[in-house]
């Protein structure tokens, strides 16, 4: 039996782990993968204490600190269900069951997938959600980038240096990205904009060979021969498995108060024992520093819950653990 199980191993989850173990709570982090989305960000320039840091490096440091504090971490497990018991919670993953007195939900956001025929079939076979990882594999070939935000424009810029031809497929006729970035891309001779258009299907044999696109205004269908398709259509929170337990807002975010306590669904009553932190919550700003702050709050409040007190906790930055 753990005191607290934290679901998610990104900035919020790892920080919650550090604070929980410093309060001597027996703590387990269950995470689908290492470091969450931050680990794929090449440059972070707005996390205090670092002028610039690579996302993977930052997450490695957080993981190292959490492990040194005594947090147990299991990767490659996905939580499917959380069941409330008399004495706490049972957390069921795709592999095992774990029990704890309190739960902190910190599983962040996931890249939004293009739910069209061929998306799953050609995943890692031409369809990619990581331009930094897979981009160099498409040297001298024709590719497309799907999306219209900064991450899509960034991906197109990266690929314009690698690929022979880059198509940007965007459902609107204007971009949400920074003006300077748009101008930069427009100056690239090998980039072509395909606006007002959506991807209907990915086609190929063993590998991706083409995408079928539709112009949403004219309804015209076109087939583009491409070897790679980079999907950059934003991210989403996947809170379906906790909706029976906690309140979520219209964007599927878990609603929390200033102590990171979750609520009963459709009520304004705090749900004892369940806390949430980071991008999965309805916090106003999805930033790493906000996520780590919420992780700390959630862990300290979980400590209060486990110990049955609601006192303010004083600073604990020294060597001595509290408890």
């Amino acid at each position: 039996m753990f005191d607290v199980i934290i679901i998610g191993g990104g900035p919020a989850g790892l920080t919650a782990g550090i604070f929980a173990t410093r309060r001597t709570l027996k703590t387990l982090i269950i995470s689908k993968e290492f470091g969450g989305v931050v680990s794929t960000v090449p440059h972070i320039e707005n996390y205090s204490g670092f002028k610039a840091v690579n996302g993977m490096e930052l997450m490695k440091r957080m993981e190292e600190q959490a492990k040194a504090s005594g947090v147990e971490i299991v990767y490659s497990q996905e939580v499917n269900e959380i069941i409330e018991e008399k004495d706490g919670f049972t957390v069921k993953t795709n592999q095992k069951k774990y029990k704890s007195k309190a739960v902190i939900l910190a599983f962040g956001k996931s890249p939004r997938h293009l739910d069209v025929p061929g998306d799953k079939e050609f995943d890692n076979k031409g369809v990619s959600y990581c331009v930094n990882c897979d981009g160099p594999l498409f040297k001298g070939e024709d590719v497309c980038v799907v999306g219209g935000g900064n991450s899509a424009l960034d991906a197109a810029l990266v690929m314009s240096e690698i690929a022979k031809k880059v198509y940007i497929i965007h459902r609107r006729d204007e971009f949400r990205g920074f003006e300077s970035m748009i101008e930069k891309i427009k100056s690239k001779k090998n980039v072509e904009f395909i606006l007002d258009s959506v991807v209907k299907e990915f086609k190929g044999d063993k590998m991706l060979r083409s995408v079928i696109i539709e112009n949403i205004k004219t309804k015209a269908i076109k087939e583009l021969k491409v070897a790679g398709a980079f999907i950059e259509i934003g991210s989403e929170v996947k809170t379906d498995f906790v909706k029976k337990l906690v309140k979520t807002d219209e964007n599927n975010h878990i609603v929390v108060n200033d102590k990171c306590q979750a609520f009963y669904p459709n009520k304004d009553k705090v749900r004892p024992g369940i806390f949430a932190a980071g991008d999965v919550t309805n916090n106003a700003f999805k930033q790493i520093v906000v996520a780590t702050g919420q992780g700390a709050i959630a862990a300290l409040q979980a400590y209060n819950y486990v110990k049955g007190s609601d006192e303010d906790i004083s600073a604990d930055w020294g060597h001595n653990k509290g408890g």
Binding site: E33, F34, S39, T40, P42, N54, G55, M56, I73, Y75, S76, D123, N124, K125, G126, S128, C130, N132, C133, D134, G135, P136, L137, K139, G140, K206, M207, L208, G228
Partner: protein, 85 residues
């Protein structure tokens, strides 16, 4: 710790891929001998990887002929006979 030499381990990766770096570090930390192929630099190797593994995403790890896609730590540990962390 003695070097583990009984397994044939190969990693296909790219320089800009954070997960590929993570896999390399994992092998180094666990004293696993492995061959690293930068498929971003070497077009021929990229084609070989695509042909051999049917994958066009990295990292791809080959352990004793078995293909593992991505940093699937439990499976890598299992194949190499390494204890869980």
């Amino acid at each position: 710790m003695p070097k583990k030499e009984k397994h044939k381990v190969k990693e296909y990766g790219t320089q800009t891929c954070p997960w590929c770096v993570r896999v390399k570090e994992f092998f180094d930390e666990n004293n696993v001998e492995y061959e690293y192929v930068d498929v971003g630099k070497d077009r021929g190797a990229a084609m070989e990887m695509i042909e051999k593994t049917g994958q066009r995403g990295v990292p791809v790890i080959e352990i004793d002929g078995e293909i593992i896609v991505g940093f699937d730590e439990p499976r890598i540990r299992e194949k190499l006979g390494l204890k869980s962390s």
